[in-house]
């Protein structure tokens, strides 16, 4: 009976154990090892999956295959972030261990969001995800830009949470329920949406758009991505977005929310604005983390196409695109983390020159991840973009699909600018030393990106509802 909740319990227990260990005996390696072991154990409990929630959790959580796949991917990505971040945090002078506490509690929040079937659970998960993130973003306590990023994120996220609570209150007032499915039924019985329900849903969508960094709610993204330590950026860009998107996907799949004209146009405008803003603003950037931040805005815009397409194709395209986006982001940001030396991350595009020569593995992972984000063939991003276009074309969303194509063309410019310098060569370069475990983790990321780009059949088969 507890099997279905096992991943949550394991992470919770790990969190408590790590907290106790840190308060008695500070040791970076031990903390990282415990965190890693706990996360890995949580992943293994997923393998014996059963859809058997205890009665008191049934109204709050849902553990279908969607939950299971997203939990699995999130836990695997966390493992990669822990491994590749170990050396990064080793360079920090003091207080390395709290990072793992924050990471675990934030992960727990993300897991709750992924499994939420109630707006209250969703809200709890969102807060549990966000509050540790404020501290994680500002983890370089002595660096001005890191602290600045933390405060920016805190203030804006606080405002968006307020909007979310207000929106949920209105939605509750209108429908009398906080359950996702009951609310979905309420929505589908509405012929015309009363304006106060629209306001409530609008506020709710706005705060989710903030979490996903959809334009025009994107302004925090570049600064926070740049200021945060690279492993935290990897976490923020991937798992930080999974929960919100999965919940939105569930809501849209269950209700006919996007068939209400105002909601449809809100989503379309969010999508178009994000694609254009993300890609156009990325063109002028010179710092890799900022480019990737703007690119993530654009990617969330693409993802909305899957949401709007709806149906089986939309569901699969959305899930697949999200997973591929998460893996590619982690590949790119983890490469940045591994390239950092003496607390300094390589910032400008030119600092990535000769990367292939300095470290063939990191160079390959970086190129593969960036190309996957660009949607180049032989990488996972190519297939996921095809799938997205397929879902969009199937639902006859031609404007969005054509914009997707145009924006992919614009995107090529800044993606290839990052990749082109990697191929430069010179006579002598200093090699980058990659720790062996990080090397293995990165090689696995590379293999997954290439594998999903060549033979995605098996993975897509899992996504068939």
């Amino acid at each position: 009976m507890f099997v279905a909740l096992a991943p949550f319990y394991v992470i919770l227990v790990t969190l408590l154990v790590v907290m106790l260990v840190v308060s008695f005996y500070r040791n970076h390696f031990l903390t990282a090892l415990l965190t890693f072991a706990g996360t890995a154990l949580a992943f293994t409990t997923l393998l014996s999956h059963c859809n058997c929630l205890p009665w008191w959790a049934q109204d709050m959580l849902i553990t279908d295959s969607t939950t299971n796949i997203m939990l699995g991917i999130s836990l695997l990505i966390t493992l990669v972030i822990i491994i590749t971040g170990y050396n990064y945090f080793q360079q920090i002078a003091d207080k390395k261990e709290e990072y793992y506490l924050l990471l675990l509690s934030s992960l727990l929040g993300a897991m709750v969001m992924i499994a939420a079937r109630n707006f209250v659970t969703f809200f709890l998960g969102l807060e549990l995800l966000s509050i540790p993130l404020y501290a994680m973003v500002a983890y370089h306590r002595t660096k001005r830009e890191s602290v600045e990023a933390g405060i920016k994120y805190l203030l804006l996220a606080g405002a968006s949470t307020a909007a979310l609570v207000f929106g949920l209150a209105i939605m509750y007032g209108a429908s009398g329920t906080m359950d996702l499915y009951t609310f979905a039924i309420y929505l589908s019985q509405l012929h015309q949406m009363p304006s106060f329900v629209l306001v409530g849903i609008g506020l709710f969508l706005g705060s989710i758009a903030f979490k996903l960094a959809l334009a025009p709610f994107h302004v925090w993204t570049p600064d926070v991505y740049q200021g945060a330590p690279a492993p935290v950026t990897a976490y923020l860009a991937s798992i930080g977005k999974a929960g919100a998107f999965v919940f939105l996907l569930r809501l849209v799949q269950e209700s006919n929310i996007s068939s209400h004209t105002p909601i449809f146009y809100i989503l379309v405008l969010l999508s178009i604005a994000s694609m254009l803003v993300g890609n156009l603003l990325a063109l002028g950037q010179t710092q890799v983390k900022r480019i990737l931040a703007f690119s993530s805005i654009a990617h969330m815009g693409y993802l909305l196409i899957a949401l709007l397409a709806g149906g089986n194709n939309g569901y699969q395209a959305g899930m697949f695109y999200l997973v591929v986006y998460m893996i590619s982001s982690v590949g790119a940001f983890s490469s940045i983390a591994l390239l950092s030396q003496n607390q300094r991350e390589p910032a400008g595009v030119s600092e990535y020159s000769y990367l292939l020569q300095r470290s063939p593995l990191l160079g390959s992972v970086f190129v593969a991840s960036v190309f996957s984000l660009a949607g180049m063939p032989l990488t996972a991003g190519f297939i996921s973009k095809i799938y997205l276009a397929l879902a969009g074309a199937g639902a006859a969303l031609w404007t969005l699909v054509i914009l997707l194509v145009i924006n992919s063309g614009i995107g090529l410019y800044y993606y290839t600018r990052m990749v082109a310098v990697v191929f430069k060569t010179q006579e002598t370069t200093e090699k980058v030393r990659v720790p062996i475990l990080s090397g293995i983790a990165m090689a696995i990321v590379l293999l997954i990106i290439v594998w999903l780009g060549i033979a995605p059949g098996g993975f897509l088969y899992w996504l068939v509802p």
Binding site: L378, V405, G409, Y413
Partner: protein, 508 residues
């Protein structure tokens, strides 16, 4: 199954070459050559029995499920045309890797090069539209890597990007066309599949068919390239020593795509498009020819002469008769060999004189006679001297086009005059006249002699004895033609110029 071995051998060779270069640089070269020879042998063996096979039902097929959720299959198939092009691609590939024996980072080079060859061969074999698109896009990546890594450092950094941008964007537009076709076919038959032999039976309203065809043709015209889309090509030619071999192979995929996909899938729309295509072709021939004549950079001349040749290919394709299509296939091969030869000469010249500018050279004949002899030979081949392959190609295309449109044929023949002008200008500036180069200049090395010798022999043999090539492709071309002429489901307007093209009785 054998078809998949060709691709698998190349991919296995790529991985091995990348891994072994850690220990021994030479080894990766030999592995690369060996795997290419293996694939070449297999393809050559198949070619002799290929003339009777029909595409997408051949006995060598591999057909397994690839992405079952959306009905895409890993379906490889081949007929005479595809096998001929495969053999030829591998031949050029062998020459290319022989030329680049001394490049730095051989492991990286051979890995990308073999993946590129695998992708191109995949294009020629794909019997599933999504698989075709996959291979079509797949070859961009290694090509981009090669161009980025072995870029001529004096050139702008944007060259590889230009190539990537042009081809990727046009490819994505083709994807939209593919998806539209997929959904229309699916809604009609409730079988959602990308299988080429199924999609051919889709009935499309003419405007939609025209739109989808344009989305396909755009990608192919960019790859060929035809005049408004030629921007990436000269940049690519000056990018790296082997770009020429690579582009020589790449451009053929565009013509193949039109012949295999655009025309059979959308016959009526293609007929409507034919006058426009012919106009584009004529403009391409003349405009590119004039630029080639006015350029001083020998690599630029090579690039534009190649573009000028693709003009002939376009004209021949849209003349819709057997003779011109045979000519197109001939032109694909002959143009790649002769332009490739010119570019190899350019590189050899550069290593000796440190310049690509033909006005800086002169009188080479007195110093390096073997070099100049081959140079003259290549120039003569370019201008279409009878008994060499280019002559056969251009003659067939022009004779076929003449039956459709006399104007186009006459205008296109002017291209041959321009070709004579720019190739003889090379001879005049480089080989004869007063010697201007450095004091000491060496003649061809043995390797250069062998490579150029092989190219020359192929040009002569193809020029004298064309039966094998016309025979292997005849069946496939006739099939496509019949498909084209026997299904006029739409009444075309009587006064349209296309009607004349359409009702061509001349099949044999």
């Amino acid at each position: 199954m054998i078809l998949s071995y060709i691709i698998l051998i190349l991919i296995a060779g790529a991985v091995l070459a990348a891994l072994t270069s850690r220990w021994q640089n030479r080894l990766s070269f030999y592995i690369s050559i060996l795997s290419q020879l293996g694939a070449f042998g297999l393809a050559l063996g198949l070619l002799f029995s290929a003339s009777h096979i029909t595409f997408s039902q051949s006995i060598y097929d591999l057909n397994i499920s690839w992405i079952p959720v959306i009905g895409a299959n890993l379906h490889l198939s081949a007929d005479g045309l595809s096998l001929l092009l495969i053999v030829f691609t591998l031949f050029l590939g062998l020459i290319g890797s022989w030329l680049s024996k001394n490049l730095p980072q051989p492991g990286f080079f051979h890995f990308q090069f073999l993946i590129l060859l695998a992708g191109i061969n995949g294009i020629f074999m794909a019997a599933d539209l999504l698989l075709f698109f996959f291979f079509w896009e797949m070859m961009l990546v290694p090509m981009y890597f090669l161009m980025a890594r072995y870029r001529d450092t004096s050139q702008s950094e944007n060259t590889p990007f230009k190539f990537l941008f042009y081809t990727q964007v046009s490819g994505l537009i083709m994807l939209l066309g593919i998806l539209t076709l997929f959904f229309i076919h699916g809604r009609q038959t409730s079988i959602y599949t990308f299988e080429l032999s199924e999609l051919i039976n889709t009935t499309l309203p003419l405007p939609i068919s025209l739109l989808i065809m344009l989305s396909f043709v755009l990608a192919f015209l960019v790859k060929l390239p035809v005049i408004p889309f030629q921007g990436w090509m000269p940049a690519a030619f000056s990018a790296s020593p082997l770009a020429v071999i690579l582009t020589g192979i790449l451009v053929k995929t565009g013509a193949y795509g039109i012949l295999r996909l655009a025309i059979p899938l959308f016959p009526e729309a293609s007929v409507l498009f034919a006058p426009t295509a012919m106009a584009l072709g004529v403009v391409t021939i003349l405009y590119a020819g004039f630029i080639a004549y006015s350029s001083n950079d020998i690599r630029r001349i090579a690039a534009y002469s190649s573009i000028s040749h693709t003009g002939f290919i376009i004209i021949g394709l849209y003349a819709f008769n057997l003779m011109s299509w045979q000519g197109v296939i001939y032109q694909m091969i002959a143009s790649a060999i002769s332009v490739g030869g010119l570019a190899i000469l350019a590189e050899s010249l550069y290593t000796r004189t440190q310049t690509y500018d033909i006005t800086q050279m002169g009188g080479l004949w007195s110093k390096a006679s073997v070099f100049s002899g081959f140079g003259l030979f290549i120039s003569l081949a370019l201008l279409g001297l009878p008994a060499l392959a280019n002559f056969v190609a251009e003659f067939l295309i022009l004779a076929g086009t003449f039956q459709q449109s006399i104007t186009v044929a006459v205008l296109a023949s002017l291209g041959i005059v321009v070709a004579a002008a720019y190739s003889l200008r090379i001879v005049q500036k480089v080989y004869v006249g007063e010697y201007k180069g450095p004091e000491q200049i060496s003649d061809f090395t043995l390797r250069e002699k062998l490579i150029m010798g092989i190219l020359a022999i192929v040009l002569v043999v193809l020029g004298m004895y064309s039966r094998p090539i016309t025979q292997t492709t005849e069946k496939m071309l006739k099939q496509t033609l019949i498909l084209d002429t026997e299904q006029p489901t739409y009444q075309l307007p009587d006064n349209a110029a296309s009607v004349k093209l359409f009702s061509n009785p001349q099949i044999d």
